[in-house]
Symmetry: C2
Subunit: 224 residues, 2 copies
Amino acid sequence: MAKDMTLYWGSGSPPCWRVMIALEEKNLCGYNSKLLSFEKQDHKGPEVMKINPRGQFPAFQHGKIIINESFAICEYLEDTFKGQGTALVPEDKGERAMMRQRMHEGNTLMGKFIDVAFYLWRVPEAERNDATLKRNKEALTAELKLWEGYMQKGPGPYLAGKNYTMADVIVFPIIAFLVRMGLCEEKYPKLTAYYNHLKSRPSIQKTWPPTWKDTPGQPMLKDL
Amino acid sequence: MAKDMTLYWGSGSPPCWRVMIALEEKNLCGYNSKLLSFEKQDHKGPEVMKINPRGQFPAFQHGKIIINESFAICEYLEDTFKGQGTALVPEDKGERAMMRQRMHEGNTLMGKFIDVAFYLWRVPEAERNDATLKRNKEALTAELKLWEGYMQKGPGPYLAGKNYTMADVIVFPIIAFLVRMGLCEEKYPKLTAYYNHLKSRPSIQKTWPPTWKDTPGQPMLKDL
């Protein structure tokens, strides 16, 4: 039981989701799970701001230790509970290097997605420019093709090879977000197959974003 | 001697610089250091593309292992040469958690800087919008104030506490870039003091970007 752990999270956020998957993989049940609302701006409220001065989810506390960066929380959990649950860092040196490479590339994948999605969601309409959006979409397409190629050429079936690793914990929620936003199965068959392979994994099923269960996604990426 | 290692790099890039600092800290001398040119688009040339399909510096090979993400290379070096040179991962659990938190926050600091700098350097003038640039500058200012606060409140003198760690390897090159771009000492005295404290560290001195030695920076950030 992980009663001395508290996680503040918002539904559908890949950084939050990966932390929840890591907690499941490390068999850390019974933590204080505080589901809050992005819409109500709970992430800017005093409870979260006290732990995370950035006013963001996830915000995480274990005893006296506070960590808020999702990569850092996942690494902390693996480090602190090494012998418990799934070993998320592979023993093989080459696979470990690949795991690290892919998990950090996940930041770029997320960044290119954000450049498209947030441009539509957050940049005021008066400031938007078709040429910028077109360039951002081209950059995301190139990024998706790169990952499709990784899945095609790589040893698989997981991101770093034959074992489920931290790279999958980190990157799967991004892929799932892309699928929800309309990623085209015909153009990205390997990425879609990876998604279909992992989506029924118990740690992922158990932590599936509650707001995704009853609402459809947006077909934002269907042309990419 | 690290003759079985090759690093392709460009001068002044924080991701390249942090890898070079890590190599020095781990006493990995004599690697094949391939300084190439951003201006000549060497990062898009066949030599680099063969190792890094993103066409970016750094590109790194050790024997058969290829890693290109700078965080991943630094972690790989620490992992592979644990008992050699500086121990970049502290023994204390709390300090280790703080190291992880700060190093990943480094990505946000770099991102906010890029949102300002690349807006001026890379977005075509016809697409630029004063409101966007103003918002990006405000976001960078808030980010800089956060880090100034960390240095003020934190145990120091290093980012994770009393020891020089991976967090400093990762983040120092960003701070140095900010200083070169005109970071105001009066507004950010603690960040400037951190820069001044670390800049003469042997690993940093030895790897100082060669193109920075003879050219001035730009006062881009002086008003922030």
